[in-house]
Point group: C2
């Protein structure tokens, strides 16, 4: 297998897992974060030493795992941005959830600099990031896919190739986020609605996963509510952002999206009441408080 | 196995499948419908002859598979209603989706007549009704469960016993319908949203079922939209009714249910535009028309 020289920019919960997966596969890897401690921790895992600016010209690929479009633009083209230092033909794979139009803009600017851009949002959560089993919904030039293949193989179980230019990768991610976000709010609504009718969360999770009402989200997030465990595997505040992106894209396309917008309001309210840094299943607390219900693990008052 | 004498009231798409499954298991069965032709057809399948009024006193169980609460009350207690003719200890199993309060009322009135009432909504659709593989979400007296067990075994793959009185069966069904109805509207919204961004329904169904956004509904109904096949396995007009029941229960409980009510509006609009007797996946046509999109199988104008 071809060993690559790779930088991962953004060592948060997703980026650190990705960086470690790429390292484990035997590539030379530089981990970069605005938090110096995170960089140092990753270096002690075995990440390569040396300032990124000095090695940029040797890199085969850069994987950006930052929070949003603004951070993506900053790390690529802002002060000290990496694109200017890359050699011609290097590949930037951008993993943040962004609007398709933004992805097309980044691709055009990378291409002007002689650098490939892959519109490569990821799905799967921190556990799969750590185990190298993400899904990547990607679009971009075939040469870029070919060059980065060993890196993607280290990061992901599924790589969906959605086209030969930026845009469809981010569009597919938006579709998936639409579904996941709406399904989380719907799980919370259904489970707490059941409680008003005497159906306990435990009974709900016994029956719904084997019934027509089930979803991946119910099977993944439902147990968090039953256990009263809101340790953030994926924070609630992702959803005002990601459903906001979906809502913005929909509005631009004159597409009426009532389910998205209903779910968006629930996550905004959850964030407004201070639940934003809890696990996203904590949107159930909004429903419970609105209905005077006590969820598992909450004080009995 | 104990052979039972059973009447099935309501030989629509679900009831006929149930009646045939019970017949196949070797029980003596009378099929009843307001449509004389349906009764005759079932009799030619091997259903028992003879007027129900004459045999009511011999029946062990009555399974009602009618459309709603009003029909349930009519067949049990209306003119010529069956409860008055049953022997003490006979079991009525009511399969319609109804409010828990209605189920409790029916139980009380049956008990006054010396008859057991099982609050026994069903889930699974016409295909599983025909193959005897439904799910039954049931609550009621343990003696009633014991007496009807061979009949339920003929109808269902899963029998969830939710308590020893009416109410929780219907409550659990309402929870399941909340999820299924919201998930259908969400599938339609996500798939057509994707189309506005260049993601085809085929590509959607290739990627979403193996991603975090999936649901049972997506895997079951998504192929209908891809095929442009709206032959009604389950008609869209079920949803204004069932989500209406959920919405009514929620309002009574002072439970704010924005996801349910957003989905309810979409199904009302689909029904209002004349799609009510098509398969429920046809709610996608509402989204497509609202956005000027052409779904698979639709005329190209």
């Amino acid at each position: 297998m071809a060993k690559k020289k790779v930088a991962v920019i953004g060592l948060g919960s997703m980026g650190l897992g990705i960086a470690r997966s790429i390292l484990k596969a035997g590539h030379a890897i530089w981990g970069v974060d605005i938090d110096a401690k995170r960089m140092e921790d990753f270096r002690s895992d075995g990440g390569s030493p040396g300032a990124l600016a000095e090695v940029a010209g040797d890199l085969d690929a850069v994987v950006t795992v930052v929070v949003n479009a603004a951070q993506t633009e900053a790390v690529l083209f802002g002060e000290g941005g990496i694109v200017g230092g890359l050699h011609r033909g290097a590949v930037v794979a951008s993993c943040a959830t962004v609007a398709p139009d933004f992805a097309r803009d980044m691709e055009a600017r990378c291409n002007e600099a002689g650098v490939h851009y892959l519109d490569a949002p990821i799905s799967g959560g921190t556990v799969r990031a750590a185990s190298g089993e993400l899904s990547i919904m990607a679009s971009g030039a075939p040469e870029a896919f070919a060059a980065i293949r060993p890196v993607f193989d280290a990061m992901a179980r599924n790589v969906f190739e959605l086209g030969d230019a930026a845009g469809p990768g981010s569009a597919m991610k938006a579709v998936n986020q639409l579904l996941v976000g709406v399904h989380i709010a719907t799980l919370a609504e259904a489970m707490t609605f059941g409680m008003t009718q005497g159906i306990s969360p435990e009974k709900f999770m016994e029956i719904i996963p084997v019934s027509a009402g089930t979803s991946w989200v119910i099977e993944d997030r439902g147990p968090h509510i039953v256990a009263g465990d809101y340790a953030p595997l994926s924070v609630a505040d992702i959803w005002p952002k990601d459903l906001g992106i979906v809502s913005d894209i929909a509005r631009s396309a004159k597409f009426s999206a009532p389910m998205v917008n209903a779910a968006l309001q629930q996550f905004l309210a959850a964030s407004g009441m201070g639940l934003g840094q809890e696990d996203d299943a904590a949107v159930a607390k909004l429903y419970a408080r609105n209905a005077g219900l006590t969820l598992p693990g909450e004080g009995q008052g």
